[in-house]
């Protein structure tokens, strides 16, 4: 929604403020102004000039030298121009030396405009410039009388022909104006019209509102002799009004109307179209004009369309209607889709002589659904779908007919056809000053409140404490709505600030949050940085992660109204987001990147959803650069240890993750629960995400970790007796798992074993192909005595024999 300062001032003549003041005040009183444009921002020293004499340029074929009169007294300046459309006697806009224009012929539009200085063109002095409409910051669409390519010849327009030489051309062309752009909420349909905006302006600035006086129109004839109207679907058409205009004379509309339409972005066409648009803008009531001679039987029938009924709208598109849509028909066929667009078969052309004007109101929801099904969205539809006030329709209709007469565009036939079965009555709301003050936290007296109401044209009965709400304010239903009106005009910023009071409770973090914070601290100590990705994911990510067709992670919840294909499902894994983030960093040549994310994944129990999905918190770690699988494993181990999972965890290499390297992945089992999985990213997946070096991922199930977490510590006596240590170096096939070795050592070594630590791994030329070497430190201790060499020797023998059975031998 747009409005212009000059148009608003037609209804609020005493309005006197700057554009910025207007924007601030209107926004604070609830009519949000998004921004404004000062049309004359870059226009300076531009006057109406008259070309007295034109001579050829001695050195240039395409240039001419003009002597241009710049005041009534007859002063002249010399201007050299390349424009071909000027002749002696023409009045044109002239920017004088030192002035400004909005755009330049050569460089187009510029935010700060262009300064015009005197200069020489091919050796001849020039003291200014004659302007085209583009140089004045507008265009031929908005000024249809301006030359397409050349200087704007003002004197060609009869309305400008008498403009005094030397007068302000910007003023003449209505460009000393400001256009405001609003964000109107859909419950304020009235503010989609200039009058509605003006009413808000009058109330905001406490000025008088002067509405156009609509006069009685029409000749002595009776419209019923011209047309009959039948509404067969009254549930979808609350009111249908029609009037007839004959002897139509199509012509351009007057400049004042063209300027107002142009100021809100509507292109002037001709008097009939312009009046229709003007009234739509003024009253927020769309109108439609039919060529009466093209309506069969001179009849209008409002009915639902038939299933698959074909219809060509006036934009020349063939549409297929269905039986939920409302159509306007003549005696034989549809001539318009109600509230959306008229038909090709009945549209007004230049040879029209008699027309039917329609101003109706339709069911908003139905119009919106029909428009959606037809894939159409017209200006009229945008208004109708909000549900218009039927009482406003007749005012708009009569205003349009008044303008027809005033502009001499035709002869209005007497009478109105008005099908309005159920009249919409204004409602009454009881007000209570104390309750309103209680709701707002204010102390406003009744006089002030009543003054606000009356400025909004609500009728107040102070005896009965009642407010009569006009039907155009469909948003006012109850006391709270009146309180809102009071708050708007009292000023939200004037409501005193108070702190809430009540009993206080102790705050704190839940256990879950504490565990999450611990996890953050731990992984951050290892250099991981917290990142964030969207919970919305692209379904394509499953293929990038090489998930098999039946993988449970593919069962994700689809979003009903997604932002786009790439954000159309709820993620079942955060790995896709992590790899994308790693790829972004890789692509930007960041080295040694370590990221983590603590976020929910959304696992549906059934699809389509029968109940809310399981929202599972996961810690996802990702890294490339320094470090390898064992680095990542160390981080996960450390996390588990610090969370109190002190026993040894099992690492099962059959993690079954398609996106991890088949030989370098493991799931982490603690007390039979899968707490995490980790591994090197599958080379093909790296390719899919365009990551050019090895990357590692770990995913920790935070819920599981949190359940296993245990921060109970019980003191164990400090050993009184010394320990004995043995180091062994073993060789084995590469596939043998460290976990298995440790398990064997611990079981065979028995109770005497205190700890088993892997301290070296070697693979290389010293060993047979396919073999590796691992070295362990084994610590033995008994709580009640000093161990003897033989005891430990025996235990070691048992261990070594058991290992040998598994083809794990001492390194020679």
């Amino acid at each position: 929604m747009n409005s212009s300062m000059s148009w608003t001032k037609a209804y609020v003549p005493d309005l006197d403020c700057t554009a910025q003041e207007y924007m601030d005040a209107m926004t604070l009183s609830g009519t949000k102004v998004e921004g404004y444009t000062e049309l004359d921002k870059n226009l300076d020293k531009i006057i109406v000039g008259k070309i007295n004499k034109i001579e050829k340029h001695p050195d240039a074929d395409k240039l001419v030298i003009c002597q241009v009169q710049i005041d009534e007294a007859g002063s002249e300046v010399q201007i050299v121009t390349g424009a071909a459309n000027v002749k002696e006697g023409d009045k044109v806009p002239v920017v004088l030396d030192g002035g400004h224009v909005a755009s330049s012929h050569k460089d187009g539009e510029s935010e700060n405009g262009f300064k015009i200085k005197k200069g020489k063109l091919r050796g001849v002095d020039s003291f200014g410039m004659m302007c085209s409409i583009e140089e004045l910051g507008s265009n031929c669409d908005m000024y249809p009388d301006a030359a397409e390519d050349g200087i704007y010849i003002l004197s060609d327009n009869p309305e400008y022909a008498d403009a005094p030489v030397g007068s302000d051309a910007v003023e003449l062309l209505g460009l000393h104006d400001v256009v405001f752009e609003y964000e109107v909420t859909s419950n304020r349909v009235d503010c989609f019209g200039q009058i509605g905006i003006a009413r808000e302006v009058a109330a905001t600035f406490r000025k008088d509102l002067v509405l156009p006086e609509v006069t009685v129109t029409g000749n002595g004839e009776d419209i019923n002799d011209y047309v009959s109207v039948e509404v067969q679907a009254p549930e979808l058409c609350s009111r249908y009004t029609a009037r007839v205009v004959k002897n139509i004379k199509i012509a351009p509309s007057p400049e004042w109307m063209q300027r107002r339409l142009a100021s809100v972005g509507i292109r002037p066409i001709n008097n009939i179209v312009d009046i229709t648009n003007y009234v739509m803008e003024e009253y927020a009531q769309p109108m439609h004009a039919y060529d009466l001679d093209k309506l069969a039987d001179h009849k209008i029938i409002v009915r639902k369309a038939k299933k698959d009924e074909p219809f060509m709208t006036l934009d020349g598109q063939e549409r297929v209607l269905d039986d939920t849509m409302l159509v306007i028909c003549d005696g034989e066929k549809p001539v318009g889709v109600a509230g959306i667009m008229g038909g090709e078969n009945s549209k007004i052309t230049d040879d029209v002589t008699t027309m039917l004007f329609e101003a109706a109101t339709f069911d908003g929801t139905n119009i919106r659904k029909s428009g959606k099904k037809l894939g159409m969205r017209t200006d009229a539809q945008a208004k109708f779908e909000k549900g218009l006030d039927p009482n406003n329709a007749i005012d708009a209709m009569n205003r349009a007919c008044q303008l027809i007469e005033e502009l001499g565009a035709g002869e209005v036939v007497g009478g109105v056809v008005d099908v309005y079965p159920v009249k919409k009555e204004p409602i009454t709301i009881t007000y209570n000053v104390d309750k309103i003050n209680a709701l707002l936290g204010t102390d406003i007296d009744e006089d002030t409140m009543v003054a606000y109401f009356e400025k909004l044209e609500l009728t107040v009965d102070r005896e009965k404490k009642e407010v009569l709400v006009p039907t155009w304010r469909q948003d006012l239903e109850r006391l709270a709505d009146l309180a809102e009106e009071v708050a708007r005009f009292f000023g939200y910023d004037n409501i005193p600030m108070t702190l809430p009071s009540g009993s206080a409770t102790a705050g704190g973090l839940s256990e879950k949050m504490q565990h999450e914070n611990m996890a953050r601290d731990i992984v951050e100590a290892y250099g991981f940085m917290e990142g964030m990705t969207f919970s919305f994911e692209s379904p394509k990510v499953y293929d990038k992660l090489l998930l098999p067709a039946d993988d449970v992670l593919r069962k994700s919840i689809a979003i009903m109204n997604p932002l786009g294909e790439d954000y159309s499902v709820m993620r079942t894994s955060a790995v896709g987001g992590m790899l994308t983030s790693l790829a972004t960093n890789y692509n930007r040549r960041n080295q040694n990147v370590r990221l983590y994310e603590l976020a929910n994944v959304y696992l549906p129990k059934a699809l389509p959803l029968t109940e809310l999905p399981q929202e599972q918190m996961q810690l996802t770690l990702g890294m490339y650069g320094e470090g390898d699988f064992f680095t990542m494993k160390g981080v996960v181990e450390s996390l588990m240890q610090r969370m109190g999972l002190k026993k040894a965890a099992q690492y099962d290499p059959k993690a079954g993750k398609s996106f991890l390297h088949p030989g370098r992945q493991a799931k982490v089992i603690y007390e039979g629960c899968e707490v995490a999985y980790l591994g090197e990213v599958h080379p093909e997946v790296l390719d899919n995400f365009s990551i050019g070096q090895k990357a590692y991922i770990a995913v920790v199930n935070m819920k599981q970790l949190s359940e296993l977490a245990n921060f109970d510590v019980k003191y164990v006596g400090i050993p009184k007796f010394p320990a004995m240590t043995r180091d062994i170096s073993l060789t084995m096939k590469k596939e043998v798992l460290a976990g298995d070795i440790e398990e064997t050592i611990r079981t065979k070594g028995g109770k005497l074993i205190e700890s088993v630590t892997l301290f070296d791994i070697y693979e290389g030329a010293q060993l047979t192909q396919g073999y590796k070497s691992m070295a362990y430190k084994i610590v033995f201790r008994a709580p009640n005595r000093t161990l003897k060499d033989e005891e430990v020797g025996k235990a070691m023998d048992k261990i070594i024999r058991a290992l040998e059975e598994k083809d794990i031998v001492l390194r020679s």
Partner: protein, 79 residues
Amino acid sequence: MYCFKCGGKGCRFCKGEGWVEILGCGMVHPHVLEMSGIDPEEYTGFAFGVGLERIALFKYEIDDMRLLYENDTRFLKQF
């Protein structure tokens, strides 16, 4: 609040308004209270909600929201 970029003069960031929206708030509609089984004659409600990203943009003077989700380490390590 006043736009943190221009301090209220109007700039590209605040679309010339001089103001930036920091949160939405208001009195709860009596219909909503009724639907929740609360008597609007006895109780009133006040609701407000802050978008975390928006606050972060203001606080750290970040001019592009996308940075928050790209996870570029050169960005992350500043915090």
